[in-house]
Symmetry: C2
Subunit: 561 residues, 2 copies
């Protein structure tokens, strides 16, 4: 060890550590860098693991971005795999380590990086030790699942937890030919990421794909065969026969080292860092899945462990540990997942989160095609956009559908980063040509509907509210303004629902609303809004259009065959 | 005519007029709205015309969004087709009209909207009146081309002008089985929209698709058969045999009515409007392809006629003509086109434009995969990002490739709208999962390279500069750091180019640079940058990496079979 050189020690070989090491080396040839990893592999694409399990990525080696030798030879980074850091001595600036073989040693540091990640939570229920019960966090987990699939050929999988990894694994195991049951404690898929009506559209798609979805039920026990393999998962009200179980109910940050070193842990249970990603000890940095981040909308700390954030953290820490200066502003909680033929993405706050944060929100639900409606291959997407009522400031969005979802979420996340309001959003000069988007894109459209609502021109009713009124309210009349062909194909049915095609509605007299509360609906809600304004021109006072209309209707529809 | 009601007259049934009429009606039931169109059709998808010609959209009726009857019945808008406005009497607030049959009449207005669009320029060259010579602006043009194709089955098309419509029509006519020659006066496709090195990548793709590309040549004459059909197009140095010619050299705004009414015409030759889209007469609004817009980067007026802008104008004018208040901030000149298997998009300023505007710019050229590199189906894109050197403020971007281009352009356009600099761009919380993007997206990557450059860490050399130095400079050494397999597959060749794989470069002594100017290159420029830093660690002083490396190399490469 060169006594004249600064010593940098990095704990964790996931996304943050290797990135920080590369960046630091590119900036400074004159530091000693040690990267310590408890496992065998460093620098691999952990987000690709579900696609390795599904077989989409045939070989796990494809996920390995860089080998330890690459770091050693190309970057002069000393990589110590299968080495555990047992404690941090902040006074003497030492980390105590233990090698696989049992050898113990200490390393001095001038700057230390903690990127110890997070581990999946497995609820402490009976039977959790049975064979065939898995989590999916790292490459060895994925390899273990893959080998179990080959060896035991399980036929029925139960997946506990419908978060991002849960949904990706539902698709992966279905792709491997298994019957899949999904058990989610809350009421819909991605319950903490999207609002009910968006989640319900995912649930519908899962059911179309033959997935058995159980919501609002918690796994309470696992039962095994005489041979010690899992055979049954029980909830309070359901019994799921299965020969494989995956727990994907969330992760917990690995903070034990940090906690033992008396570094400050934040209110989320993850390591607290400042915008330079320093812990409460300025010589110690932390990033990735073990830290909490500032939410850019609420300003509050949140724990949202994602690979995209970890990579950004790696670069920033790599700069700062060699006395550079870079800061991390925070996150929007942007996330996306492929779920069979659908994509589902989100950014910012959900309606529920916004209300909890004390914000008054106006939302829109639009369901336009992703390309020009006349361009072949266009597919509808459902976009829910949220803005602060008073200022129009964009607060969040959720988007789901078989069309192009990622672009809309990324545009909105970027708009939020720039502090745009809906009025600015509706004029953003986006790239238009028929093979790429409609002339007025979904994001323009959604922004305009919010503007129409806050200006009092458009009056929407949410699917949940209408559902409630269909049950409770006496003097309600729902007018479906689509064509006869559309009505004959599929519709909502009930005593309060009437079919009046738009062309006839134009002729109708003002008596149509006589004392009634009216709700208009169509396919996408464009004509329903048009009908709302038309009825108001006839003198109807109490008329609303159904937000998202039939495309975004989260409940049962009557499909006429 | 109801004397108590305000009279709104809209000239032009393209995108702006119908949109303004619908919006005005939704806001105000108590105005009389008249929409005057000189042709037969209103409210159709003009941007879809190339796809009708190609056969991708089988029937022209698919392009018709709304019929005149829809406007009459549903919106109580009086639509007068095949009616020409002959003049505007601003003093008496009257428009004088002439019907197809010859009948003349006048309409009073309280608010008037001019949306007369733009017409393609056909250069005044000999033979322009021959059969088989076309422009493509409106539905009748597209139908005429389509009928000519059916009737005469031409085999060889010449397309003059490689702008957006020119490129779309190259693909359309090739799809119809024709041999296509493209003649462009300037040096590369989309010459006013993208810089040379991006344009050159489009040109390569066109050539791969069998298109005969002639650059830096101007059409000077057309020759016909005895029967009066076009048979030959001549430039100064070339003769193109052809039995069909399409002119797509740009459009000119239709300002004759406005000019005759003494409304102010701006420096671009289009109608000048304020941010409410009022002309110099506050009772007269104008929007769409006949007006100029403020460029959001330079603040200067520009003429960029696009359907996306026209649609936005329609809504804003619709609000303002019924005494609402809405404003149009301006444009970024965002545009996109599909060119066979490639997409090419752009926003903001090109490098050339930025320099002309007196801005000091730093650019990056990155060529990452559009999805995670391990996810099947990922394709590389080339993204050139431009920022102001001093502030890091994003000035523009161009993106081309077979991967997902539109998303990156839209994100950058949104970032520019929010005034983001490259440092903010590199931390935007975009949606990441392997099927949608890499963990560090192309836009993050491009922003980081600019940061590295302005901080003096990364030192790039543009392809043009390297090309020049390969010809001129004595003491230049170009080091290709790829693997042997890659080198054997394709490479740049020459006396100044040497192959030293990265693994060997790590071992090399400082003598490698002895007195030489070094340029490193690889496939995508990631390893080349890495090698630049590595050589600097060895003490090399004058070393740069090739921006975009081989993926973005716009000149010939040696492909080894």
């Amino acid at each position: 060890m060169n006594v004249d050189r600064r010593n940098i020690v990095i704990i964790g070989g996931g996304a943050v550590g290797p990135k920080a090491a590369s960046r630091a080396r590119r900036l400074d040839p004159n530091v000693d860098i040690k990267l310590i990893e408890k496992g065998e592999f460093i620098s691999y694409g952990a987000c690709g693991l579900p696609y390795f399990v599904s077989g989409v990525i045939p070989n796990s080696s494809q996920l390995l971005a860089r080998s330890p030798d690459y770091f050693r030879e190309q970057l002069e980074v000393d990589v110590l795999t299968q080495t555990t850091v047992t404690s941090i001595d902040r006074n003497r600036r030492l980390v105590h380590c233990s090698e696989g073989g049992g050898k113990e040693f200490s390393l001095p540091y001038d700057a230390l990086v903690i990127s110890t990640g997070a581990d999946p939570v497995i609820p402490p229920l009976e039977g959790r030790e049975l064979a065939g019960v898995f989590k999916l966090k790292d490459l060895p987990d994925a390899v273990a699942i893959s080998e179990y699939l080959k060896k035991h050929e399980p036929r029925k999988a139960a997946i506990v937890g419908a978060g991002l990894i849960g949904l990706e694994m539902v698709e992966a195991l279905k792709a491997r030919g298994m019957a899949v049951t999904m058990v989610e404690m809350l009421g819909w898929p991605l319950p903490t990421l999207v609002d009910f009506e968006v989640g319900a559209l995912i649930a519908k798609h899962l059911e179309e794909k033959g997935i058995n979805c159980i919501f609002s039920e918690k796994a309470v026990a696992l039962e095994g065969t005489a041979g010690g393999r899992v055979r049954r998962l029980k909830t309070a009200n359901e019994v799921v026969e299965c020969d494989m179980v995956l727990f994907s109910v969330g992760v917990r940050p690995n903070v034990s080292l940090a906690r033992a070193a008396n570094l400050e842990i934040g209110p989320t249970g993850a390591i607290k860092v400042n915008d330079k990603l320093q812990t409460s000890d300025p010589a110690i940095y932390a990033g990735g899945d073990c830290v909490e981040c500032r939410h850019l909308v609420t300003g509050k700390p949140v724990f949202v462990p994602l690979g995209s954030t970890a990579n950004k953290h790696g670069r920033i820490i790599g700069t700062n540990i060699v006395n550079g200066h870079d800061t991390f502003p925070g996150i929007l909680g942007t996330a996306i997942a492929k779920v069979f033929d659908m994509s589902v993405g989100r950014t910012g706050l959900t309606e529920e989160e916004a209300k909890k944060a004390g914000l008054e929100v106006t939302f829109s639900i639009v369901t336009p095609p992703d390309l020009s409606s006349y361009y072949p291959g266009n597919k509808r997407i459902t976009l829910k956009l949220l803005a602060e009522t008073r200022t129009g400031k964009i607060l969040g969005a959720q988007c789901v559908g078989q069309g192009e979802v990622a672009k809309r979420i990324d545009v909105i996340a970027t708009a939020m980063t720039g502090g745009l309001n809906v009025s600015q959003m509706s004029d953003v000069d986006l790239a238009y040509a028929p093979p790429f988007s409609p002339a007025i894109d979904a994001v323009h459209n959604a922004a305009n509907v919010i503007r129409n609502k806050t200006e009092g021109i458009a009056k929407g009713i949410s699917p949940q509210e209408l559902k409630q009124k269909l049950n409770d309210q006496e003097n309600l009349l729902v007018i479906d303004v689509r064509t006869k062909t559309e009505w004959n194909r599929e519709r909502l049915e009930g005593p309060k629902i009437r079919h009046v095609p738009l062309s006839q509605l134009a002729q109708a007299g003002p008596e149509i609303c006589a004392g009634k509360e009216l709700v208009t609906l169509c396919h996408s809600s464009v004509r329903a809004y048009h009908a709302q304004r038309m009825l108001e021109r006839k003198g109807c006072r109490n008329v609303k259009f159904l937000d998202g209309s039939l495309v975004a209707w989260p409940y049962k529809k009557t499909v006429v065959k």
